[in-house]
């Protein structure tokens, strides 16, 4: 039975849910369809231009920019301290990593030290954040393939961790808690009990996730051998994080180029899988949840006492009670609040291992009180390039689980 082009396109458009046929070739039956930008499985506003032969994906081209708000430009208009409020909104599932990378970069430029407690608090919070981010990845991976309970489980635990963030920083997301020189405020009184509760909870619950999904035959069928790439492809395309480690390449910035509390030699292993498919990425993430739980436990045990930030009055606000006693404190407070501190001219690049890979901040200072240039190398942005090779040759249904396994955060991609 032959169908005319108009008829077919019309029928597809009428029946299609969000799909829109861009172009249809009658001779070889190739079709270019548009998926997104508002498709529930595309994790935000990701748009994919798919060239299809029936159900098979021949080409997959990500089109991004729907969430672009010019954050890098905005950073140039803020003081060095205030730019954190912008940076933290980029990768909104892992806000602390943005703040950490930015703070490390500014600290390098300022050439200041962070007291040990500040370093440990940062690492504790970021490891917690890695848990919460991987829980979203776990939940959405399940949700996109129809396992809705995975999302309920993942988001349930994430909520507890976000409550901990609220207790420490005052906000659930976009925390603005780290600053060049340490963290904004010391941990609250009851933090240790709350953090240990999370550790105990995660140890138990991660077993539940494994029982729920890891051996599930439907899950295995839809993830094993799907969206696979090799180590060479992953390295060439710049993929980092779980995507790279799932191909068998052992690389983790926390271990290989340590920063903050990892300089003290915490014991943890870097999970690696060999297959490079969706299932391998899932396994790596679950194993990372286990490792991060261990790390959080160690960081609680080894939490040093002392200052939580560099108390140099030139870069940090003086304590509130000093303002009543000291004129210098008032002057410093006024200068920092109105103008901010200046940073010596120079450039630097600092990178951290975010849940999605290498998150780097490249900052240039011209000696002024605001960044001259602040570029963020967001892992989701670079990782998205490997989506094309992953999807090629697979089915459209498999593409959904591949997107979920790349775990892009569009706030970070578009910045």
């Amino acid at each position: 039975m032959t169908v005319s082009r108009e008829e077919l396109v019309g029928r597809l458009e009428a029946d299609g849910q969000g799909a829109f046929v861009e172009w249809f070739d009658e001779t070889d039956e190739r079709m270019v369809i548009n998926m997104g930008p508002v498709h529930p499985s595309t994790h935000g506003v990701l748009r994919l231009l798919l060239t299809l032969d029936g159900e098979t994906v021949l080409e997959c081209k990500p089109i991004i920019g729907y969430l672009h708000t010019g954050m890098e430009k905005e950073c140039e208009d803020q003081t060095w301290r205030a730019a954190i409020t912008i940076v933290t909104r980029m990768d909104y599932l892992a806000p602390f990593f943005n703040e950490q990378a930015y703070s490390l970069a500014v600290e390098k430029l300022l050439d200041i030290e962070v007291p040990p407690r500040g370093k440990y608090i940062r690492s504790l919070i970021t490891e917690m954040n890695r848990l919460s981010s991987h829980l979203v990845a776990f939940g959405t991976q399940g949700l996109d393939m129809g396992a809705m309970s995975a999302m309920f489980y993942g988001f349930r635990e994430r909520e507890v961790i976000l409550d901990f963030f609220e207790m420490v920083t005052g906000l659930r997301m976009n925390n603005n808690y780290f600053l060049p020189g340490g963290v904004w405020e010391d941990l609250p009184e009851d933090w240790e009990r709350a953090a240990r509760t999370i550790v105990e909870m995660m140890k138990r619950r991660v077993e539940e996730y494994e029982q729920l999904i890891t051996e599930n035959p439907i899950f295995l069928e839809r993830t094993k051998g799907i969206g696979a790439i090799t180590t060479e492809e992953a390295l060439a395309l710049g993929a980092t994080g779980p995507i790279l480690r799932a191909t068998g390449y052992d690389w983790d910035l926390r271990r290989d180029m340590p920063y903050d509390a990892f300089e003290d030699g915490l014991s943890f292993s870097v999970p690696v899988a060999a297959e490079g498919d969706v299932y391998a990425r899932y396994k790596v993430r679950i194993a990372e949840i286990r490792e991060s739980t261990k790390l959080v436990e160690q960081l609680i045990d080894r939490m040093p006492s002392g200052d939580h930030k560099n108390m140099d009055p030139k870069i940090t606000h003086p304590p509130r009670d000093e303002l009543n006693r000291s004129m210098e404190a008032v002057i410093h407070h006024f200068k920092l609040s109105t103008q901010g501190y200046t940073v010596p001219p120079g450039e630097t690049y600092a990178a951290v291992e975010s849940p999605r890979g290498e998150l780097g901040v490249y900052a240039i200072s011209d000696g002024g009180s605001s960044p001259y240039r602040c570029h963020v190398r967001d892992p989701s942005f670079v990782n998205l390039q490997s989506l094309g090779p992953m999807a090629r040759g697979g089915l459209v249904a498999d593409l959904i689980s591949t997107i979920a396994s790349v775990d892009p955060v569009m706030g970070g991609v578009d910045r």
Partner: protein, 164 residues
Amino acid sequence: MTDVEIRSEEWLDSARELVAQGWWLADLCGVDRMHLGFDDRFGIAVQLLHRERKERRTLHVAAAGEPPSVPSVTSVWPTANFLEREAYDLFGIVFEGHPDLTRILLPDDWEGHPLRKDYGVGKVPVDFVKQPFLQIQGPGQGPNTIEAQQEVDGYGQTAKDGQS
């Protein structure tokens, strides 16, 4: 900014050399060096990572000419594809030999390149001009804003504000 600056003609050759030595492209971004004292206004900053040596390196490549142009290194490091498109989009740096040099973050019909230093931040000037109190004439009509439509300087200030 002590690092070596590479001229754009040599960039592709040195990139081939670097990749043979095992350097991996971590990041590539455009920089408008208007106030930094370089000969050429535009350039790209390249972050390289050597995984065996655990070493990082920053390189600067000058983008001379109008429009500023640099050879593309997508053939050497395929990961440069999106990064170069981003630098093109935000700075207008043309990457010669790039397979698909189109805007990536902004709409295709966008005018200008927003991260250039001479491109404004996009603030909408807000006038704090005294408005007549409650002089709405009829339903659906706002206060008279003719007074607010006076000339605004680069800081969003009206001449009247400056005087008072």
